[in-house]
């Protein structure tokens, strides 16, 4: 089984294909892979409790680590201590950690 880091930079309110990327994360986890979903740029917008947040909670429930770039959160005025269920703030260093560790890293 492999380690995957999926990086979502798009806003699900703006791009319908974000759901497909979440689906890819869920599918990889279902097949037994270790998956982390890292939200960055406008990808962090559903980390604010909203209509699209439940999808992130579902991914966390499926065993996927769901992280949101702390800088992107700060830029958008989203408090790191008030994130949607299942989402945790993290530094961008997480991406470099995964790359250095040999994770398969995919940007969307």
């Amino acid at each position: 089984m492999a380690n995957y880091l999926l990086i979502e930079s798009r806003d699900p309110f703006d791009s319908n294909d974000v759901g497909q990327f979440y689906g890819l994360a869920a599918g990889l986890a279902r097949e037994g892979h270790s998956v982390t979903l890292f939200l960055v740029q406008n990808g962090v917008l559903p980390a604010r409790p909203s209509a699209h947040s439940a999808a992130l909670a579902d991914l966390r429930g499926a065993g996927i680590d769901v992280l949101a770039d702390d800088f992107s959160l700060q830029e958008r005025g989203i408090a790191a201590d008030g994130l949607a269920d299942g989402v945790a703030a993290a530094a961008l260093d997480v991406v470099i950690d995964h790359m250095a560790g040999g994770s398969k890293t995919i940007w969307h």
Binding site: R10, L92, V95, M99, G101, G102, W107
Partner: protein, 137 residues
Amino acid sequence: MADKKTLTFALMDAPFENARSTTALRLIDIAARRGYDINVFAYEGAVYLPFSHQAKHANAVHGHEVEEEDHPLPREWVSAVIAEAEKNGGKVDWVNCGLCVDERGAADSVDGVRRGTPGDFWNMASASDGTLVIPTK
């Protein structure tokens, strides 16, 4: 450095247009601070990231002169990550796609940037611990 890593990034966005360029350079900066060896393959509009003729400008709307506006320039960020990597025992091998450069007249780059082909990206990725492609939307 016992755990020195080699990472490869492929970039495609032109500067001054999208947050992806900023995020990419934030990532490269983190790797540079760790002293990693970093490969960058700049494709399409990304060949303008290290373009040496980028110039600061004033902002008349805000009433700022050039110095006060201090407009950020990606070429300075590229030079900064190259210097940061060297300071920490690493290096940045920044390759601009040659055909993309020719199409755009973007041959003049800051020091540390060389010309290459997509074959360089294949070789870089094959020899790296991790690779990240940041495509345009």
